[in-house]
Amino acid sequence: MIEIKNVTKKYGDKVAIKDITFNVEDGDIFAFIGHNGAGKTTLIKAIVGIHDFNEGDILINGKSIKTNPIECKKEMAYVPDNPELYENMKAIDFINFICDMYDVDQETREKNIHKYAELFEVENVLNDQILSFSHGMKQKIALIAALAHDPKILIMDEPFVGLDPKAVFDFKKVMNEMVKEGKIVFYSTHILDVAEKLCSKVAIIKQGILVKTGSMSEVKGDKSLEKVFLELEG
């Protein structure tokens, strides 16, 4: 479970996110939506422990990311919006590196790397340098590295950007499998129709303030998510 409690983050005098509070339960696919610059990436970076925040707290399965970051990070995997991977490395070396950092045993990593490399159809390029990859290929490698250590919580910043339609389709299946096992998938997105069909819960952020959150059906009611979002933005 992720508990976000009154989180405020400032960049100098500018308030990026203000007093954000909501929970993400086990088994949720949670969509986090908002316009560009609304504060989505800031909150995501705070959750995964990349950025500090000024006020409030974030608990990952009861542990604070502020006071116990290592234990929190062990349970999470993060896929950034723009996969800035180590381009001089081979894809397989990068995935192995991430697995080593999470102390993934040989059996688990073999099972997962083969499984996801096959799913995303990248097995034949795992020995190639990341430098030669397109954005979508890098995104797939970032996803495999994130999934290889069986995270309980998968946090992603616009994960579908750059992925081909088949990869999006397959990855949605992976997300559904994860939540069936009681894991959490939390991601930011601008693709509202996908979020509407895929996610059980949603939060909408506007200019750093949480304007609506709840189950998908509660938030959108009879309308489409897109319409609700545009109304709130308006």
Partner: protein, 537 residues
């Protein structure tokens, strides 16, 4: 033209962040104060050195020779530095995509990059040359014309070395673009060129002796054969507005011509350097479990070997160390004769006796002048967020980086050690001390490097050279290393002058530096988590 100027302004403000301090408010004062004090120290030191040099020429009433030597020396330094900077500053930059997509002539982009290179060298050289010019002007009661000419010369003098080094950078890039392993070829050619220049500069003894015996000859030699310095000195002695205009215009024309020539093939060559071999490696991929440390070293090492300027910068001092150890071992009789001839009253036995102490000094220079960690955080760039999201303490990440740097440095130092041990039949105490120093001294240098880089990270560089050669962090580390190496040698000489035995000198030296290492280590463990976490990309 106005578009070019606007772009130049944007690029300079973006990239010349050697003088831009990013920090939290609380530490802003100290962040600004440290480099300012640091640069002031250098300026005062250079001023003092210029004054003492002038005093030496005073009896002959030839104080102006100091100016000739200073301006020429910094032209040579700019040229030497430019050899391994120019290729990576001009080609294969991170902002290629945006710049080449703009409706601009390709030569404009080349001009902007060469101008950025020039701007950095101008600022850097000014820090060293301006004090000498002021010292001369004040002491010789020069008129305002002297100061005007000197200010113009500060702008003009870096141009020719930059043009020459850009031609070399272009040729090295052109040759390496023909090979599959471009980075490797680029590194090998650059390193070979530097070693070639260094070898011949060491073998110019006869010429330099002849010149140093007659200071006037040095001056006339430089002024006759090197126009940028010669013309400046001529205007210092006898100002002429026509000569000044020729001086300015000729340099600008040379700069423009080189942009015009290289600009013709710049885009094609840059594209070749960016192209990556996409031939698939058909070998089955290997899924292998490693310890965190080994995995981290592998990751850092692959970054190191894929960055030519990083290898050249770090590797040069180490190659010199090994070469010096071989030279000392093979030609020690010649070297000792040379030292005896320069230091009257000291017998050859004294030098032979103090070879273990000499090795310690050589180790100190090599270790302190090789700071790999001073660029390691900055080179992460935006991928720093990958590290930050990992379940590892920031202090461990920092430690892993220090260990990686030591893994690169120590084998080279040990190789040099072994050559000297065998050649001079070291006793066991000296062997143990030298081996310990080969671990301790790079550890200190790398601790300093990483602390400076954590304090002054440059996460938004457009190419690796800006980080490795032109960042605040690398500059401070180089000068701190230089200072530490000189202090360390002075300390060894001081101990030797007390008449202590080799063993005692080495032990005292190592104890002092062990204490320094411990203090640095304690400081790093205290600040590394916070400083690492504070870096935002």
């Amino acid at each position: 033209m106005s578009r070019t100027l606007k772009l130049l302004k944007v690029c300079l403000s973006q990239d010349m962040s050697l003088f831009k301090i990013k920090s939290k408010k609380a530490s802003k004062t100290s962040n600004i104060l440290v480099p300012v004090v640091f640069f002031l120290i250098i300026a005062v030191y250079m001023g003092g050195y210029a004054y003492s040099l002038m005093e030496q020429f005073k009896p002959m009433n030839q104080q102006y020779i100091m100016l000739t030597l200073f301006t020429f020396a910094f032209s040579i330094i700019t040229l030497f530095e430019g050899f391994y900077k120019s290729g990576s500053l001009l080609f294969n930059c991170k902002d290629d995509q945006i710049l080449f997509s703009l409706p601009l002539d390709k030569k404009t982009i080349l001009f902007i990059r060469m101008f950025k290179f020039y701007a950095f060298e101008f600022l850097f050289n000014s820090m060293f040359m301006a004090p000498s010019m002021i010292v001369y002007g004040v002491n010789m009661n020069q008129s305002w014309i002297y100061y005007l000419v000197s200010i113009i010369a500060l702008f003009i003098i870096p141009i020719i070395p930059i043009v020459i080094s850009c031609i070399f950078g272009f040729l090295i890039t052109y040759i390496s673009s023909k090979f599959k392993g471009k980075n490797l070829v680029q590194t090998i050619i650059t390193m070979s060129l530097l070693l070639f220049v260094l070898y011949y500069s060491f073998n110019m003894d006869a010429l330099m002796n002849m010149l140093s015996n007659n200071a006037g000859t040095i001056d006339s030699f430089i002024c006759k054969y090197y126009y940028p310095v010669g013309a400046y000195m001529s205007m210092v002695h006898d100002f002429n507005i026509i000569n000044l205009l020729i001086y300015i215009v000729s340099h600008i024309v040379i700069f423009a011509i080189i942009i015009f020539i290289i600009g013709k093939v710049y885009f094609d060559l840059n594209s070749k350097m960016k192209s990556v071999s996409v031939i698939h490696n058909n070998k089955p991929y290997v899924i292998k479990t490693r310890s965190r440390l080994m995995s981290f070293i592998k990751k850092e090492f692959s970054r190191f070997v894929s960055t030519p300027v990083f290898i050249t910068n770090a590797g040069f001092g180490l190659v010199i160390f090994v070469a010096a150890c071989i030279a000392v071992s093979v030609k020690y009789d010649v070297i000792i004769q040379e030292l005896v001839s320069k230091m009257e009253g000291v017998s050859p036995e004294v030098f032979i006796n103090y070879i273990p102490v000499g090795l310690m000094a050589l180790l100190a220079f090599s270790a302190f002048m090789t700071s790999i960690t001073s660029s390691m955080i900055s080179l992460e760039g935006k991928s720093l967020n990958i590290l930050k999201s990992l379940p590892i303490k920031s202090s461990m990440i920092v430690l892993y980086k220090v260990i990686t740097a030591m893994v690169i440095i120590i084998p080279c130092l040990l190789l040099g050690d072994i050559i000297v041990f065998i050649a001079f039949k070291f006793d066991i105490v000296s062997i143990i001390c030298a081996l310990y120093a080969s671990i301790l001294l790079p550890f200190i240098a790398e601790l300093i490097g990483i602390m400076v880089n954590l304090k002054y990270p440059k996460m938004d560089a457009t190419n690796d050279t800006e980080i490795v050669k032109q960042s605040m962090s690398s500059s401070i580390s180089v000068f701190l290393g230089m200072g530490l190496a000189m202090l360390s040698t002075a300390f060894l000489i001081g101990l030797a002058m007390l008449g202590l035995s080799n063993a005692i000198i080495q032990i005292i030296y190592l104890v002092v530096f062990t204490i320094i290492a411990l203090l640095l280590w304690l400081r790093l463990t205290k600040v590394s988590d916070k400083r690492f976490d504070d870096i935002q990309v």
